[in-house]
Symmetry: C2
Subunit: 431 residues, 2 copies
């Protein structure tokens, strides 16, 4: 920084401890963030001699061929991490690298996956969706039939019920955002409302639940309340504009906005209307959690309000004191995010972050907070509120509600804390 810049910078009032700044306070201040002065480049850059920048080799000839289907630049190594890269006969998980992304949409190639045995290779011309059970008229649909129905497009996140389970360990695990929070993604989904199909089949008044079954080998299945099916459930056919990816349920999946990931059944094959939940293994052994004392959580659905900081975070080392943007993701399975607060002093003081528009219900929301780091150790945290009145809990509140830490624990929406040391390195801590 020049001394003039330092002087300007010191006039900007903080909104919370350790250098959190109100975004509006920055406007019109001419603050030097990180741009370097160019020596010798003045108002005239017409002569090559006046240009201190050499002409880059890629500017000196024709370019590369445009492919029929584009892929990221060869310099980018941004991929999902895989728990079972050789596809051995057990669950495969693939995590979204949120620390290397920005915005709120997840590209289809980087959407998280949890699949019991990988993805089935489904021929879309032969795949059928059947609606049966307590209906007036059982129905079967192929893709061509579904294409004739009224559709709807909506941006929604999906999060695995087990995402961020590491936050409830006894000591803070030293992992990055992708490892801790990577079972979460957000897409624009397009498909047919489930209510439209149920209306056509005619629901028997005795039916209160439905069983959704996938066409994968393990036949993933979950009991779903009829009320949700008639509310905002969708038979999703497109993801970010194109047919959904094979690992996302091609050629169709159930979308239950805001509900635990595994209930959004992929490779959707059958929907059976029933009177009661069927007590599938995925709601008795799996996805059921013991909480404080003898209490068991079962049949809980929405992913609770949550947020975490993606920049900075472990692996993204700060390069010296000065201005940075703290940014991250916030979301709630119960509606819109109403507020995100950020702290740089481990929760002592908080400043309200800006939210990128539009803030959509049950979708990822990007929050941003300008920050002037003085080079000293700090602890960064974010905390989210939703329009339903829910508040993301502190660790102390989580322990009070669920008892002492033990694995596995789902629906873990506690505040994440990153300690930044004087070298600019981020570590996971409990604060």
């Amino acid at each position: 920084m020049t001394s003039k810049q330092e002087s300007l910078s010191s006039q900007i009032p903080d909104v919370a401890g350790n250098g959190l700044i109100n975004r509006r306070a920055l406007l019109g201040r001419g603050v030097l963030f990180a741009g370097a002065a160019v020596t010798g480049v003045g108002s005239s850059l017409t002569g090559a001699a006046a240009d201190p920048l050499p002409v880059d080799p890629w500017s000196m000839g024709p370019g590369e061929k445009i492919p029929p289907y584009g892929v990221p630049a060869k310099y980018e190594k941004v991929v999902r991490t895989l728990t079972n890269p050789n596809g051995e006969p057990r669950t495969q998980q693939a995590r979204t690298p949120h620390h290397l992304l920005n915005g709120t949409i997840t590209p289809n190639g980087l959407h998280f996956v949890v699949a019991r045995t990988g993805f089935p290779d489904i021929d879309p011309a032969k795949h059928r969706l059947v609606i049966h059970g307590l209906v007036k008229q059982p129905l079967v649909f192929d893709l061509e039939a579904l294409a004739r129905y009224p559709m709807v497009t909506r941006i929604n996140f999906i999060e695995c019920g087990g995402n961020s389970a590491q936050l409830f360990s006894k000591d803070p695990v030293q992992q990055n955002v992708q490892a801790i929070h990577g079972l979460l993604s957000c897409s624009e989904w397009t498909g047919v409302r489930l209510s439209t199909l149920l209306e056509e089949a005619g629901v028997d008044p005795k039916a209160k639940w439905l069983l959704a079954e996938g066409a994968d080998g393990p036949s993933m299945n979950r009991s779903i309340p009829l009320a949700k099916a008639l509310d905002d459930a969708m038979i999703a056919l497109y993801q970010n504009g194109e047919r959904i990816n094979p690992a996302q349920g091609y050629p169709m999946r159930l979308l239950l906005p805001g509900y635990e990931g595994n209930m959004n059944v992929k490779w959707l094959h059958r929907i059976k209307l029933v009177e009661e939940p069927v007590m599938a293994i995925n709601e008795t052994l799996q996805y059921t959690y013991r909480v404080a004392g003898p209490k068991i959580w079962q049949f809980f659905y929405p992913q609770e309000v949550k947020s975490f900081i993606t920049h900075p975070s472990p692996g993204l080392t700060l390069k010296g004191a000065g201005f940075y943007e703290i940014s991250g993701l916030a979301y709630s399975g119960n509606g819109r995010v109403s507020k995100v607060m950020v702290s740089a002093d481990g929760g002592k003081t908080w400043g309200e972050a800006a939210l990128d528009a539009p803030v959509l219900s049950k979708a990822l929301t990007r929050f941003r907070m300008p920050w002037r780091w003085d080079g000293q150790p700090v602890v960064l945290q974010s905390r989210a509120w939703d329009e339903a009145g829910n508040i993301q809990p502190t660790r102390a509140e989580m322990i009070a509600a669920r008892g002492e830490p033990r694995a596995p624990m789902g629906h873990m929406n506690v505040i994440t804390s990153w300690a930044i040391d004087s070298k600019g390195e981020a570590k996971h801590v409990f604060a």
Copy 2:
């Protein structure tokens, strides 16, 4: 249809000629769209004998490996069409297949491209952005520096000024949506506001324009009014969450929401503040159009309000009379789409389409209209309005404004008409 369904269907009032239906009128009617009855599947499907559907081969064993970066299913052949697939030394164009997509986001691999010689192979570690000319302090930025700035995320379309030029030919060209309207796409963009960087450099009061230059071989350049740069211009670094694709300007492009595609300079390398437009070839020979009489259009920027029907459209043949959804895309470079009307009788009567939420400024908006086709020939049209008060013109209005058809003609936002014949095939017509 069953006779009961036919009877229900005939009770639903149309909102315009040839079977356009109000979406709300459908609710609760139990209308059979296209689902087929399943014989023998009743309330009990526990025994295999009761199931008329054989178990599909992909449900009988383990699945495929989840890859680090997912790709569309092998059954999908949805790609961009290329005008110059061998990369010969002339312009390469790649068109988005909107007739095979749904929703509003374009996947990065399918975003349209117009590139004079393909894409430059830019090493992101060596690329620089320079701001110079009429500024107090010329500045240079690398990617690491830009990463420290406050960013913003926004969903915007980009459309080539030459998109849909075929609509002004003397006779209707027989092409599909991809060929006619495919130089249009929509992404979630994330980056640094240009105004933030200009504020840091300090704009000389004499500066009224800026020259944006790309690092590609032909050094794409355009003069841009300073007012736009200070309004909503962005140095875009991310597209749908990930680093922008090589053909979209990797590692950075200029985003001028709503403005003619070529002004959104890709592979952005230098921004020079100047007093007057520099009269680059791209604003004298290219992207300047003769209109009625001796008039020339030059320095016109926003893409005007426009819409077209993607489903049905040429190549997507209807399979017999019955219910369908008419859907398409609407957008305006001047703000939000306020209304889309659809006609099934060549413009005699119109019904208002439903718009998928959220309707965003300078972004693609998906419109939808339920339709009961009686199997007779019809002409489908859509017409859009924007919040700035603009109305998409008819062909007669376009000719009155611009004179008799002749090529080339940019900014062509006239109504598109698809004639559906009794076989369900769509053809491009002027109506």
